[in-house]
Each structure stands twice: as C-alpha cells, then as structure tokens.
C-alpha cells in the first residue's frame, strides 16, 4: 500500500490508460454514432491528463498550453462531428455507423 500514498505520475497515467481504453472500446464496438463521439472525448481527456501530468512532474508549462489547445480543438471537433452526425441522420435516417458504408468503392 505504501506506494499508493504519495501520489505520483504513475497514478495519473493509470487513470488515463483506463480512460483511453474505455474510449477505444466505445469507438470500436458501439453502433451509435453519439456514443462513438463520447468515446473520442474520453480518448482526448486521457491524452489531456497525460499532458498535464507530465507537465506537472517535469515543471514545464508546455503541457499545460497543449492541453488548453486540445480542449479548444476538442470543442471544435465535437461541434463538427455532431453536425455531421445530424446530417448523416437526415440522409440515412439512422445513426448506426456500422450500417453506413457508402464509402465502400
């Protein structure tokens, strides 16, 4: 238990690894486009945690800055992705990503 007491870098990395894994799972297996999007957000959050953790324990400001930009870009991504999802829904009457395969050939 003793290495659990001083909270170090590995704790954060572990949390981020789990978030990443769940996000990946959602992206891979979920049919619903919205849930896929949520998975992507999880992945981004995992990355953010990593950035900030390394920044914290290495003392640089760069990670902080990057996480800030990532949040902004995530917001943009979310907006666009959601717009696309709504468009897809309008066209295919469905948000089932596994049934949408017009890109095939």
């Amino acid at each position: 238990m003793e290495h659990l007491i001083p909270i170090g870098l590995n704790h954060y990395l572990t949390i981020s690894a789990f978030l990443f894994g769940f996000g990946l799972f959602a992206v891979m297996t979920r049919k619903n486009a919205i849930v896929v999007l949520m998975g992507v957000e999880l992945i981004l959050n995992a990355a953010n945690i990593n950035f900030l953790a390394f920044s914290k324990f290495n003392g640089g400001i760069a990670g902080v800055m990057f996480s800030l930009f990532i949040i902004v870009i995530a917001a943009a991504e979310a907006a666009i992705a959601l717009a696309i999802v709504i468009n897809i829904f309008k066209i295919f009457k469905s948000v089932d990503v596994s049934s949408i395969d017009t890109m095939k050939e």
Partner: protein, 752 residues
Amino acid sequence: MHSLIQLSIVVLLLPLLSFVILIFFNRRLPRRGDFLGVGILGTAFAISAYIFWTVIVQTYDPAFKVAWDFTWIDLGKVPGIGPLQIKMGIVIDNLTAIMLAMVTLISLLVHLYSTGYMAGDKNYGRYFAFLGIFTFSMLGIVLSDNLFSIYIFWELVGLSSYLLIGFFFEKDSAADAQKKAFLANRVGDIGMWLGILILYSQFHTFSFDQIYANLAAGKFTMSNAWLTAAGILLFMGCVGKSAQFPLHIWLPDAMEGPTPVSALIHAATMVAAGVYFVARIFVLLTPDALHVIAFIGAFTAFMAATIAITQNDIKRVLAYSTVSQLGYMVLGLGVGAYSAALFHLVTHAFFKACLFLGSGAIIHAMHHEQDMRWMGGLRKHMPWTFATFTLATLALAGLPLTSGFMSKDAILAGAIGFANAEGGGVYYLIPVLGFFSAMLTAFYMGRQIWLVFFGESRTHLKPADNHHSAHHAHGDDHDTHGAHEVHEVSWNMRAPLVILAVLSVFIVYSPNPLDGAEGWFMKMIKTPATVVGPANHNCAVQPVKSAAPLMSEVLPSVAAHGATDSPAEAVSEHGTPKASEHTFADARQAEIAHAAHAAHFPAIYISSIMVVLGISLALVAYVFKIIDPDKTAETIRPLYLFSLNKWYWDEIYEATFIKGSVVLSKMLSWFDTNVIDGIVNGVAFIVKKVAFANNSFDKYVVDGLVNFTAFSVNTTGAVLRKFQTGKVQTYVVMLLVVVFGYFVFYFTRLIY
C-alpha cells in the same frame, strides 16, 4: 515677322479653312457652301495680289527676299551632331510672289467656273472642299523654304489630285486613273525623297539656304557623282509631278476628273510645280544632271506632241499638249534658260487653263461629249468660247503677239545657245526636237480648232455603238444628243475664259512682242548662281552680283580651291565669256546666256517658220482637205497606231512593272504560305513525328511496364478492396490491430 510673311501665312491658311468648313458642313450650308469657297479664294487672291504689287511693282528688285522660319521638331542635343532642329519656314521672293498670284488667280477663276460647271452634282460641296485643300497644298509648295515641307506639300497635292481625279469614283476608269496618278507620283516622290536624303545626310538640314551655303562652302563630303545623283533624284519628283517621260502616263488618264480640275491641277498649277521645284533646286544641279534634265524635257516635248496629233478626245489632246509644254519648261531649265522656263510656266498656266476651261465649256454645252470627231460648227453657237479658245490656241502654238510666243522663243533660243555652248553634236538634238515639237503643236492645235469650231455639226455621225465607256456614268441620253440645242455657257463660266485669254496677250508681260527679255518677268527672275561644280573656280574673275546674297559671302572663301572637271574645261575651251547685261557668277551659265542671246533672232525665225508650217499643214489637211487625214493614216498605219496608242507606254508598263509586281507578290505570298510557313509547319510535323516514334516506344516498352504495374496494382487492389468496408469502425479496429501488433513486437523484443 515681316508683314508680307504674315499676309502669306493668311493666304496659305485661307484655302485650308475653306476645306475644313466645306468638308464637314457643306450639307448644312446654303448652295452647299460654294460661295464660301469662291469668297475665301477671292480674299486669298486679293491678298496675293497685294503681295505681288508690293514685291514686283513697288520694290522691283531682282534680289528681293524675305524669309521666316520656326522650329517644327526639336531633336535636342543629338550625339555627333549637336543641337538639331527641323525648321519649317516661308520664303518670299519674286518667283514666290508671281506664283502666289498666279495660283490664287487661277484657283479663284476655277472656283468661279465650277459653280457653273459642277452645278447639280451630288457631291458639289465636297468638290469645293477638295479644291480648297489643293490650293492650300499648292500654295504650300510655293511658299516653302525647305525640302521637307516642300515634300510634304508635294505629297499633299498628290492627294488632292488623287481625290479630284477620282471625283466621279463610280466610274471604274476614274478610279483606275486616280490610283495610277498617285502611284506614278509616288514613284517620282521616292526619287525626290532619296535626293533629299542625300542632301540631309550631309548637312543635317532641309533648308534651301543652308544646303546651298554648305554646298558652296564645299562641305559636301561624298563624291561628285552623289551630288549629280542627288540632282537627278530630286528631278525625279518633277518627272512624276510634271508628267515627264517615263512617268508621263498618268496625266492623260487624269483627265477623268472634272474639267475645271484638269484646268487647275493638271494644266496650270500642280504639274507646273515640278518645274517650279526644279527651279528652286536649280543651283545645286550639276552640269551632268542638267544634261539629263534637258534631254528628258526635249524627249517628252517631242513624244507628247506626236501623240497629241492623233488623239480624238478633246481633253486628251490638251493633256498631251500639257505634257509637251511641260517638256519645254524642263528642257528650258535643263539648258540653263532658267527665267525663260519659268516665264513659260506662267504664260502656259494662263493659256492652258483657258484652253481647258474652254474645252470644259464645250463639253458642258455638248452634254458631256468629248470626242472631237462628233463636234464641229460650234463657232456660231459659242462665240465667246470660240474667241477665247482661239486666242489661247494661238498662244500655245506660239504665234507672235501672244505670251506663248515670247516664252517659247526664249526657251528655244536658250536651247540653241546651250547646244552652241556645249559644242554641238548630240546637243543639237535638243533644239531640233524643240522646234519640231513646235511645229507639231501648231498642227494639232489647228486640227483641234478646226474639228471643234468649224465645219458642220457632226453629232449625228456618231455611231451608236461607239460610246466611250466612260460616258455611261452620265446616263444613257446619248441618243437624244442631236435634239439638244448647243448654247453659250453662262457668265460665271465665261468670265474666267475672258480673263485668262486677256492674260495670254504679250502686253501683259513685255512691251516688245518679239522679246520677252524686255518684260518685267525676265527682269525680275534672274538665273541664280550655281553652287556646285564649275562654280568653285573661274568665278573669282567674274564680278559677283548674284541674286543670291549668300553667294557673295561664301564664294571668295571657296575661290581658292577648285577641282577641275570636264564640263568646266569644255567651257573654258570656248574662250572667256564676255560680260553681257546679265552678270553671272558662273562661267558656264554666262556662256549659255550669251549664246542664247545671240540665238534670239534665229530662234524667232525658225520657230515662226515651224509654227506657220504646222498651221498650214493643219489647214491643208482639215480645211482644204488636200490631204485626207484618214487616208494618210491608212498609208502610215504603224506610225499612226503608234501615236494613237501613246507609244504603247501603258501597255509596256502594264506588262512589265504592274504585271511584274503582281506576279512577284503572288510568288512571295506563295513563298510565305508554303515555304516559310511550310518550314514552320514542317518543323512542327517533324517534332510530331518524333513524338509519335517516341510514342510507340512509349506504347510498347514504357507503357508495357506501366500497364504491368497497373495490372498488378489492380489485382492487389481487388484483394485489398475486401478490407475496405466503408465502415469507420473497421478502420479503427485495423488501426488498433496494428498498434497491438506493435506492442506484441515490442514486448517480445523486451523478453528476448
């Protein structure tokens, strides 16, 4: 600025004003603005008459001269030359004053006459505009003080002549004639232009005065042959404009223009401009050049006279007569009878204008019938015309008591004197041709008078199918000709005839009907001292009292050096010339003048005999019918045809130059499209062929490889396509599989 200069500028610009107003506004003016043309010309003539009065009557000084110029083009500081300006200017001397008055007077008379002759034409206003620009350009030639502006106005009179010859442009013959006139003049002009270039390239100035001063100062650095060439080339301008052989062919065709135009341009003024120009450049003509000029003049006089005797068109006879008379003038200049030639220019202008206007009156009265064979008996119907026409004819033929007698005699005397002075031989050909032409002149004019005015009307004899093609434009009323009564023309056409006829009488020019040299004209117009060749030596012994004041300054300086050339030696062989009442700076001129003076009376005798001979021949043939002209023509048919067809010059030119040009142009055009463009296209073709060869290599070798690649790619793609499901998640999974694979690889590496 001298007041005369100011006045002359006004005179110069007035006809231009007339042109500008009439060309734009003639349709808006009452009577199409003809009164404007006449009025403006009247004003111009009044001012010119004042100038004439001031210069000739009041001043009465042979050396009178005022000049003025301004910078037209400033070329700045030219490397190698220094500051260079092209100047334009005006010079007024006695000759200018006389020409000014003559041109404006005849132009005024022609304007007045045209109000009757051209009445009712659909382009009536435009006609007067064209007359205006012609008068402007002609006055420009007269007033110019430099070669450049003379060349400009030279071409401008060519333009106005072009416009007026083609005034009835619907007629193909008129359109042909105008083109021919312009092109023939252009040929002459390029010679003139080259002559100008020779002089300019030496002195970098166009001004007469400066060129002469430089020449006299011996600054001409090229060989003497170039100077002779310059003279002959400048004379080519005169050959074109004054219709001398070999460019005489345009003038008879130019009679397609309205008859008053023929009177003004193609008889009195423009064609005389050539002679005027040669007189202006007289001082720089070398003896060699003068010989060429004399021979061309003599030959032209003779040739045109022989053609004139067989022509049937009333205007063509007069046209060839004009060519012949111009030949006389050129001959006169060539032999050094400078004042005589210019005297003949003036007298000829008046009586020939009178003749043309008279023929215009006849044509007008005959409803555009121009063929003399179908005239006759007009004496009773048109007494005024008859009287004036006859008087002018006598002047042309050179009968005593007329102006023509005095001037022609002076020229012929000069020719004899020239031949004597040059040492005879071939030079006697010139006076002989001159005298023979005088006889022919008397003959054909007698023939014309008789055919037109005497006998009975032959209008009805005209065969219906013998219509002159040119007459079609004037309607098809030929059949009704006989029904028309021939009337005398109205006053505005009669008055010019009378004035011109009066000016053909001797008393206007000289109190002595036998000797023009006693008149004011010959006294005012003196032979100027030459600035070339023999002038450079001998002259030191002569008292210098030349008309050109510049000579007195430059001659002493050049008297020291002198190159001898053959004409000068020829002169000196004949002994030192005596000083006559003329004083010449140049021995050669003095010699000729002296000989001419001596030949004065022989010339009178010979020419009188010739004239009488000519007239009596005409009487014999046409009045007394002792010789039937038609039968004679049959017996000497080749000669007759030769003359009737104008020595076949038109055909010769047509066959050589015109056909040649057209064929050459066709050839070059063919060359252009087939050879040059062919080369270009050939290069393109070869490049294309190379490209094709390259292409087949490409197709089978390079393309083979490419196709194989494409095939393999295709196959691979077909396999790999299976993996492309179009589903996003599949791709993510594949991505992850790869990442997972990497992890596996990474860890296995860690383990081992």
